[in-house]
């Protein structure tokens, strides 16, 4: 299920909203979700960032065009557009930085399987691969190359402990329900199940919340 489908369901006015506004909503949602989730979420595959990029470019051109104009009216419009532009930029920047921080923290984990790799954008994949190579090279030239060969790996799983750290999927997240749902959760002492109504807010483990978010029954906040 795609975010568009969710929006269509929860919002009857969906079709009357222009594309740019929907893109901004989608970006804001992706940004909030990415900052809340303990693990990296999939990169939006529907061309969202291509559209956002071209919107930003368009606005920058407009600003440049309007700058020469000394009419007070244009000047005011210019400030509004520039303010919007700064905010738009901030959203994209903060979103990308949140992702890079997660990727840097668990690079080998996100590079380890095809499924995990597919969450990264092409650029992020190139960045992660190269950064990992840099680090590995740094370890090798600093000390690792004078180690005995059997101790040079960075991905051993000896004695049942893998060298590759993974994000903590059991940490807590807040979600808002987008429709009435029966939510099953695991607690410390006992497991539980509750009926949660649309627009209710719940706190639970990410591992329990993930299926709901993926199915479009809830969103991260």
């Amino acid at each position: 299920m795609d975010i568009d489908d969710i929006l269509r369901e929860v919002d009857p006015t969906f079709h009357s909203i222009p594309r740019e506004k929907r893109d901004l909503q989608e970006l804001t949602r992706a940004w909030i979700a990415e900052r809340s989730a303990p693990e990296l979420l999939p990169w939006p595959a529907n061309g969202l960032f291509e559209r956002i990029n071209s919107n930003i470019k368009h606005q920058i051109e407009k600003v440049e065009e309007m700058t020469g104009d000394t009419d007070p009216k244009t000047n005011f419009a210019l400030i509004v557009i520039q303010t919007e532009l700064e905010r738009y930029r901030y959203l994209v920047r903060s979103y990308l930085r949140a992702r890079i921080a997660k990727i840097d923290r668990h690079t080998l984990h996100y590079l380890s399987t095809d499924d995990l790799r597919s969450r990264l954008s092409e650029m992020e994949l190139a960045y992660a691969t190269r950064h990992q190579a840099l680090l590995h090279n740094h370890y090798l030239s600093s000390f690792l190359s004078s180690f005995p060969a059997n101790l040079q790996n960075l991905n051993d799983a000896a004695a049942g402990i893998s060298m590759i750290e993974t994000p903590d999927l059991e940490s807590a997240v807040f979600i808002r329900l987008l429709k009435d749902t029966f939510v099953e959760v695991r607690g410390v002492d006992a497991d539980g199940a509750v009926n949660v109504k649309e627009s209710d807010i719940a706190i639970l483990r990410w591992s329990d919340a993930k299926p709901l978010v993926e199915a479009g029954s809830a969103e991260l906040i």
């Binding site: 990029n53 930003i56 470019k57 920058i60 700058t67 400030i79 520039q82 303010t83 700064e86 905010r87 930029r89 901030y90 994209v92 920047r93 903060s94 990308l96 930085r97 890079i100 840097d104 650029m123 190139a126 960045y127 190269r130 950064h131 840099l134 680090l135 090279n137 740094h138 370890y139 030239s141 600093s142 000390f143 690792l144 004078s146 180690f147 005995p148 101790l151 960075l154 000896a158």
Partner: protein
Amino acid sequence: MPMYGDLGNKLVQHAKRTQNLAHLPPYQTELVRGVTREVRDLDKDVASLLEPFQGSFDPSADQATACTLLVNHLSMRRNKRCLLAYHRTRTDKLAELVWSGSDVLDLAGHQAGGANGAPAADAGASSSLSPQEEDYFRQYGDLLAAYKGQWTDIDLTGSLEPPRDLFIDVRVLKDAGEIQTEYGAINLTKNSQFYVRQGDVERLIAQGYLQKLG
């Protein structure tokens, strides 16, 4: 008598301390070498212990040797972890510096200046980075520039504070010369104050030339 793992422990303490420091303390070349040597010595011990058995060692028949081997083995792995943790803590710090826009030369100069109060004449000798770390710093800088280059309209290393005002008041802390803005040129001389577009001066604020007021 120093024990296995003592040196590794020292490295970890260095790493822990580094986490809370604003600057990067000098690279512990001797310690790193010492820990690496310990690993090689332990590996030799293991090899010579196993030699008489010709590959047919039975742990339950010779429990004392088995125990020695296990301890040696764990010590080697622990040392490796200590080394990795130490280096990773430092590279994380370096990466942070790259993001904040420092370059390797003012890094070396800055550190030396802080240590003996005089500007460094030759940055290489007084740098607190190992040569490998300098390489890493430079290469990571290139990598980041390449990634940033794909998002030119965003300015990826810009402020992570949500923008509130388009224009801000700034005071000039160090002479920064003349900058071009779309409202004309501004001459940034020390102690002067300006009302400027935030986007135009973000870089200078991060580098400590300007201070944001209010």
